[in-house]
């Protein structure tokens, strides 16, 4: 495993301050921060951010992006998540779909989608999980059958965040029966407003309605919306997950909670509270350096998949422990309508924290990946 301490260049540091100043002005004073990537869905905010050149930053200039480096994007994303900014509208399109299009998309797809993503006009959801395909993604059953001018898609996708608000989703589906279940999978870009698409909310335990079931019933997808090669879906998805794994969204979900804690309790910390907060800060500081070093490695063309899995595991476990520590230190009865922002955020965190070690690869799946790499290296 290779984690090298990395330094932000003066230009990267200046960018951080520019984003910070812009966010100070853009977000209202009484703004309630979202929990990292759980920030609100706000197309207007996404467009304003895009106008600054901060959406789809790593998209090359010829496709309407900023042509920025991985670390520059890291810096911007870190500031957005730290502020709990409402990033949900463009989040998947910018983090996941754009790099996948750059890597596997056709020239025509790039020319059509990438400028719209970079402008904050085209929002994506993920179409991977199914009722019987969670961690075991290769067991997807949604099918795409050949028609005269494209594909007919049938099946059900679940946990599709903001499918009721976004424009497209990339559907992992079976395009041919194969003995090897990793073969015969493909990715199709599906317009969520197509006839035959039914989006229904799956209420989560906090009562929020941003996650959906998407039923695809004879949905027509034209040939030009096949993403990458037919039959190469598994390899493409695996590459995509590496992008998803180790970013700042894996340790900054709790930043708003920590800031609110300091605002409410920072003045009267006893030794034990101070030590508890110091432990959290120390770990955050270290995990952040790990994540940044993965971003730098990606920027230099490396593929640190094991490192990314490790950072995600460490980061999300850390986030959950922060919630428990804050609850212990605050020692209050949790009130979702509590008087202070800290109380309300704590309530939201307690209800949402379990999802942090599930989404983007469960703890168990990630440790399986890391363990394989560790024991392989020893042989």
């Amino acid at each position: 495993m290779i984690f090298t301490p990395t330094v932000l260049s003066p230009a990267e540091d200046a960018l951080r301050h520019e984003v910070r100043r812009w966010l100070d002005a853009a977000l209202p004073a009484d703004f309630r921060p979202g929990l990292g990537l759980g920030g609100r869905h706000d197309p207007e905010f996404s467009r304003a951010l895009a106008a600054q050149g901060w959406v789809g930053m790593s998209i090359p200039r010829e496709y309407g992006g900023a042509g920025a480096s991985t670390v520059e994007r890291f810096v911007v994303v870190e500031e957005l998540l730290a502020a709990g900014a409402p990033i949900a509208a463009h989040w998947i399109a910018e983090r996941q779909t754009a790099p996948t299009l750059m890597r596997f998309g056709t020239e025509e797809q790039r020319r059509w989608f990438l400028p719209r993503i970079a402008a904050g006009e085209c929002f994506f959801s993920l179409g991977m999980s199914e009722p019987d395909a969670g961690s075991d993604l290769a067991s997807v059953r949604t099918t795409a059958t050949r028609t005269e001018d494209g594909w007919r898609v049938d099946g059900t996708k679940v946990w599709t965040t903001n499918a009721h608000l976004n424009h497209f989703f990339v559907v992992l589906c079976r395009t041919s029966a194969a003995d090897d279940r990793h073969a015969g999978l493909s990715q199709l870009i599906v317009d969520l407003s197509s006839p035959g698409v039914t989006v229904s909310p799956i209420p989560l335990i906090d009562g929020e309605l941003h996650v959906n079931e998407v039923v695809l019933d004879g949905v027509h997808v034209p040939d030009e919306r096949v993403l990458g090669e037919v039959g190469q879906g598994w390899a493409q998805v695996t590459a995509e997950l590496a992008h998803e794994r180790s970013g700042p969204d894996r340790y900054l979900s709790v930043l708003g909670l920590l800031r609110a804690f300091l605002a409410d309790h920072g003045k009267d910390l006893d030794d034990s509270d101070a030590a508890a907060f110091g432990r959290i800060a120390a770990r955050l500081w270290s995990i952040r350096q790990l994540s940044l070093s993965v971003a730098r490695a990606l920027e230099q063309g490396e593929a640190p998949a094991t490192e990314a899995a490790l950072v995600k595991d460490v980061g999300t476990i850390f986030e959950q422990e922060v919630v428990e520590t804050m609850r212990e230190v605050a020692a209050l009865e949790i009130d979702p309508e509590g008087e202070t922002q800290f109380e309300r955020l704590l309530a939201e965190c307690v209800l949402n924290a379990p999802s942090w070690t599930l989404r983007g690869g469960t703890t168990e799946v990630l440790r399986g990946i890391a363990a394989k790499a560790l024991t392989r290296a020893a042989r």
């Binding site: 495993m1 330094v7 003045k267 030794d271 110091g278 270290s286 952040r288 490790l310 042989r379």
Partner: protein, 354 residues
């Protein structure tokens, strides 16, 4: 050796190569019995590795705090019972801060609260001084009549009561009442806090090295040990221990290296960085030791198996120079004092020295 010419990683490898064949189980056992690892200190000292981060003008090998910590990672990984941290990074830089030159031989130092220098010599005692009985001189801070002073003391002139840590490394009680220092010089006002920070950073680097070695050892052992017809590392419950060890080992290495790198070419490590590294190191030491012992079973508990030499050091080093709790409270208080709005900007400052 001219340290500045060498990258930290290369330096770590070079020291590891020097130590590889010299630190045998027999040498470690003998060192615990005798309080000194004969045949190990000399090549380290002769190569200039123990004096990295002390300028050549002050009698050291030159180089940065990061390079000194790279040496310590290799020392920690090899479980070497010698005052490699104390001689250069701790005592050497303390002496240099008072414009004193590094004397020959191994040195030691530690925090010395309450030690005073008056007309009758030194007054007071210093607890748990690493290798006090074996080094050629002690460099300590004392309160002089006109402010803090650095004193160089001949341990032969002091009354030393031998003590040890969990790994059997000497941690001696040194009674200095009436002892006249060999040399005295005024110390800069920050010498004490800076020494304490370097001390904590040195332990983080040693812990990082030892954690890495524990990881290698545990991965190897669980890959070879067969139960129920397959290597035990093939069982997910055991593999989880390996992953947790790797996570902690990588985290503490990142923390120690970041804090050290941030000191720059000639500077001292920063308060926030050291506190964070010390906290992370203290947590990692306990977690790595526990997971490694669980994964290696009864074999890991024997004196014969190399794990114990490492874990007994992890359990010792994590509490030296303050330990996790003290540094965590320090860090928590200083961040709280900065206020809610300064929290993220302070933490995200990260590495700033190119």
């Amino acid at each position: 050796m001219s340290a500045p010419a060498i990258e930290s990683g290369e330096l770590r490898d070079a020291v590891a190569a020097v130590l590889r064949d010299r630190v045998t189980p027999e040498v470690l056992e003998a060192a615990e019995r005798d309080g000194w690892a004969a045949g190990v200190w000399e090549p380290l000292a002769d190569g200039g590795f123990a004096a990295v981060s002390v300028t050549e003008a002050a009698g050291g090998s030159g180089g940065s705090v990061a390079q000194a910590c790279a040496v310590l990672e290799a020392v920690g990984a090899a479980a070497v019972p010698v005052p490699a941290a104390e001689t250069g990074l701790l005592a050497g830089r303390l002496l240099a801060s008072a414009d004193l030159e590094l004397p020959d031989g191994a040195l030691s130092t530690t925090s010395s609260p309450g030690l005073a220098l008056g007309s009758g010599g030194l007054a007071g005692a210093v607890a748990r001084v690493p290798w006090a009985r074996a080094v050629s001189a002690l460099a300590l801070l004392a309160d002089g009549p006109d402010g803090p002073v650095v004193v160089l003391v001949d341990p032969g002139a002091a009354r030393i009561t031998p003590g040890r840590n969990l790994a059997g490394e000497p941690r001696d009680h040194v009674d200095l009442d009436g002892v006249r220092p060999l040399v005295t010089a005024p110390a800069p006002p920050d010498a004490g806090v800076e020494l304490r920070r370097r001390g904590a950073l040195s332990r983080a680097a040693l812990v990082a090295g030892a954690c890495r070695a524990v990881m290698d050892l545990t991965v190897r052992y669980t890959g070879e040990r067969v139960q129920f017809g397959r290597p035990v590392s093939a069982f997910p419950a055991v593999a989880t221990h390996l992953v947790r060890i790797a996570e902690q080992a990588e985290t503490v290495a990142m923390a120690a290296r970041s804090a050290a790198a941030n000191a720059g070419e000639e500077g001292e490590p920063a308060p926030l960085d050291v506190a964070a590294a010390a906290v992370v190191a203290s947590e990692a030491a306990g977690a790595v030791a526990a997971a490694a012992h669980q994964a290696t079973g009864a074999m890991g508990m024997t004196r014969e198996f190399a794990l114990g030499a490492l874990t007994r050091r992890l359990w010792s080093w994590r509490d030296e120079w303050g330990g996790g709790r003290v540094w965590a409270a320090d860090l928590g208080r200083s961040l709280a004092a900065g206020g809610a709005d300064a929290f993220w900007p302070t933490l995200s400052r990260g590495l700033v020295i190119p």
